[in-house]
Amino acid sequence: MNSNNRTLVWDLPTRLFHWLLALAVIGLVVTGKVGGNLIDWHGRIGLVVAGLIVFRLVWGVLGSTYARFATFFPTPGRIAAYLRGEWRGLGHNPLGALSVFALIGVLTVQLLTGLVANDDIAFAGPLHDLVGRDFSNLATSWHRLAVNVLIVLVVLHLAAIMFYAHVKKDNLVKPMVRGWKEGGGEPARGGGLVALLVALALAAAAVYAASGAWLPEPPPPPPAVTTPAW
């Protein structure tokens, strides 16, 4: 950006999204596995992820060049070219793009199932009451099984970063922290303030929708005198 050998790849919102999501996923896996009173935090972090995922979906359309889905959508042609070693681009390479979409997909499944799940102990997702108990149990099963897919994807993601760092001598972490990459290329453009505000507003709406705060209040409990004292 400011010198010839630096090219902006990841805009600041994309980087913030990435690292917040990484923290959230760690928090979710830990709180989900440990359970107990931490399950309440699992629910809270889940709402944050609702906002993050919706933000990223919007940013994939309104964000800057390399954050846009259209830029890195892994078409078979692009994947084939990449595997032949003919891909010359910046941002997500076609295989990395597969990983991006897979992660967003699994996290969306986890999000939607988690919102209506229950643990048969003392916790239920904020939208649990919208679906029947049977469906909630089914969603809970998917939630419990799909977390394994998520963990596998995260391990693959980390393994790919190690592979790039040690074998291809390409540090992928630094650009995700600083935003720019050494070398030339088209710098990222677009994703201005208006786009950011729109994405943030939709993310906030998603958190509100997921929280169930809009659900009608349960009817007030009947006065105590109407139930027998025993």
């Binding site: 440990v34 359970g35 107990g36 009173n37 931490l38 399950i39 643990d119 048969d120 102990i121 003392a122 099963s141 419990r144 099984l145």
Partner: protein, 150 residues
């Protein structure tokens, strides 16, 4: 011969009294009812911990869980009840019937946590109850994770 027959009959009758034969369907129904009742009690305690704390409500609920935890529910896991329908189809995994020591450890932890919750509920210390409640929930989860079909 007649004596032997009488003896055999008597023995059968005695055994039957000692181990009242539980029908699979009943065993599963009772299990499910016990868990549902504990679910009610857990929800009750949670409502008190998160909202206005009512000591008596929590004591009642904690005592219910303690009583069920110490009722010897293992007796309801009769052989063959790894499949079948009580109120709904059982979701227990067959491993629960074969992993004796590990299941026993979980059951023991659960009993202990239920006793601890009842103990602190009696003091009316909301913070301590919240802690004990979380620990108890953790023991529920350890069994759900390993011995319930997903």
């Amino acid at each position: 011969m007649k004596n032997k027959l009488m003896l055999a009959l008597l023995a059968t009758a005695l055994t039957a009294t000692a181990h009242a034969q539980v029908k699979t369907e009943d065993a599963i129904k009772w299990r499910q009812s016990a868990y549902a009742t504990m679910g009610w009690s857990m929800a009750r305690i949670k409502a008190n911990v998160e909202g206005t704390y009512n000591k008596d409500e929590v004591i009642k609920a904690a005592n219910v869980i303690q009583a069920i935890a110490n009722s010897g529910m293992g007796a309801l896991y009769v052989p063959g009840s790894d499949k079948g329908k009580g109120w709904v189809d059982t979701r227990v995994k067959p491993e629960l019937f074969t992993d004796g020591a590990k299941v026993g450890k979980i059951a023991g932890d659960f009993n202990q946590a239920a006793n601890e919750l009842a103990k602190v509920a009696a003091t009316g210390d909301a913070g301590a109850v919240k802690n004990a409640f979380g620990k108890l929930g953790g023991t529920c989860k350890s069994c759900h994770d390993d011995y319930r079909n997903k």
